[in-house]
Subunit: 400 residues, 2 copies
Amino acid sequence: MSTVETQPGSVGVVETRYVDLPDPVPLDCGRSLSGVVVAYETYGELSPARDNVILVCHALSGDAHAAGTSAAPVAASTRDGFAAEERDGSAPTGLGWWDGMIGPGKAFDTDAYYVVSTNLLGGCSGTTGPSSTDPATGTAYGADFPVVTVADMVRVERAFLDVLGIDRLAAVAGGSLGGMQALEWAVSYPDQVDSIVVIASTHALQPQGVAWNAIAREAIRADPDWQDGHYYGTGRRPDAGMGVARMVGHITYLSAPALDEKFHRRLQFADDLRYTITEPEFEVENYLRHQADSFVRRFDANTYLYISRALSYFDLARQYGEGSLEQALSGVSARTLLIAFSSDWLYPPAGSLEIQEALQALGKQVELHVIDAPYGHDCFLLEEARQTPLIRTFLTGSNP
Amino acid sequence: MSTVETQPGSVGVVETRYVDLPDPVPLDCGRSLSGVVVAYETYGELSPARDNVILVCHALSGDAHAAGTSAAPVAASTRDGFAAEERDGSAPTGLGWWDGMIGPGKAFDTDAYYVVSTNLLGGCSGTTGPSSTDPATGTAYGADFPVVTVADMVRVERAFLDVLGIDRLAAVAGGSLGGMQALEWAVSYPDQVDSIVVIASTHALQPQGVAWNAIAREAIRADPDWQDGHYYGTGRRPDAGMGVARMVGHITYLSAPALDEKFHRRLQFADDLRYTITEPEFEVENYLRHQADSFVRRFDANTYLYISRALSYFDLARQYGEGSLEQALSGVSARTLLIAFSSDWLYPPAGSLEIQEALQALGKQVELHVIDAPYGHDCFLLEEARQTPLIRTFLTGSNP
């Protein structure tokens, strides 16, 4: 992994690489996947003892490019059908999605740790997903891709680390769906994880979150251009449906006060109503449409469907505890850092509190910090300065 | 108006009637509408002095059938193109949408008051709207229907009451969009309104509410079956898009705790995941789809677009106060009853508080009651028992 230092605190220019998993991956749904490719990036240096690895897991719309600046996106276009043919761009470009948290001296300090980031199973940025070619047919999976779970994602991450020769993780960290993966790691591989950092996440989405995900999927499914999930190569993509899905998501990631502070009720054209039912009239309407337009250019609708489904399924108590969260967490040995945000109504602090209480009842090492911040769920990407000392202190405790 | 008492507290069997407005109605957008029809129902008896009239205004998806049980829906099918050709049903059927609040001895007591309810301008249940026939072309307006505002709705209500020979209103009452109409009445016709009852409403939607409405419109607009708003008579309707719009609306009308209490994370098939990205898996997902399916059978998508737009435009401070709510309300002479609900995050109590404070600063008669109830915005339709004494006491004060 060649990284070039470009500015203080940055991991520099990075490149997304790819690994082929040698064995088929068994899935919760009963099927298995052969020929799985995993896209990944690494930052920092692996210690000779291979004991300084932090796995960073991304949220719904993320990718392997968590930190630094992307090198030219060459590799992806040869490995990823969606990237090459369906997207305007291809591999991740620009700054990594968690660049403020990963780098020399940052929360995940690359002077001390070897940080590994992968695109998750079902993704559309290099790791095998519905836009990938099914080796059995030679065409894209589309909706024939198996339905995957967070446990399946973690199983792929485990197999991927095997290829890299990494047995133990000093930490697994992530926000939102990334935090679910961290929790899943602690439960599924208790002997291989020293600590987990679970940010703006939960052990199970509340029903309102399940509903938002269902609405997003319905918007995509209802778009005739979705074509029952087999739109690759047809020249038609369900951009309209995914645009609506993204708008719903976007509003749920922000708090009402944050939207009010950012847009008020400002009109696009001063106080001059245009009397239109189809065009944006308020600034917030224009913003939403812009967010949707840029998202559909970089993201695959089927991946959105599959990952949204995995988010809804995730439920530690159901999966591992016969309905009891405490029972599900009984085998955890990782130290746990939980961070939640006061204004996050999609993943409210109550969910983190339930995890804390279950772990405390079991006598496990756990700390919860609820940060009072106004930006809703998006805080986990925005409130870097206030998360950094919490995470650094916590990690120092695990690997002094 | 023939009403037959069918059970205690009921106004009995009622019939929706229709009035043709004699004059064109000027609209805020600069256009005017000729040949406007207004669908209405009445409950109780008009006093000889014609001083006991309460106008009840409905919310986004309501109609003129506010109380009692509908007679056979004959008239509507001859007056309303959408009702006759496009909908499975036609005129409103079943119990009125505010039956718990209107009747002998109820909040709006038909032993004392003559309660009048109309379908609003732009509606799809008898009053002229986008599904009505444009007299200039002989075909349905579709998206050529003028963009209407809450002020336009109230202007039509005023013209309709002129036809009935009613000058003054003892009260104007409504929830949500209905409350906006009541506020608009108090501002636009201050000498003709004795009191207003404004429930779960606001003087201007917050930006998050504007965003939800924009997403709903986007879902309809993105449906190819919308056909730029000219789908009548084509055999194709944007049911899929309006289904998504309704799902979004439905979740915003409920609180997260209410959804949790009602559905938890229960699966449709016990604890047996089916691993599907397209079918409902959780009970809340099935519920949403059912809500959407039943809604698209009874409601017109263009009406949804137009009314949603009117909701977003409504802004008393912008319309009448050069940005100042106090200035906008300075001419109000009606006594004002405001009711809000603690768990209503779409029309949060803060909006009602702002109205109260502005009216108090002006020395007007106003009272605000925030009811602590868990069901979100839908409380205005559900919490009848707790609203009733507030409304009865308030109305008695105005018309002892």
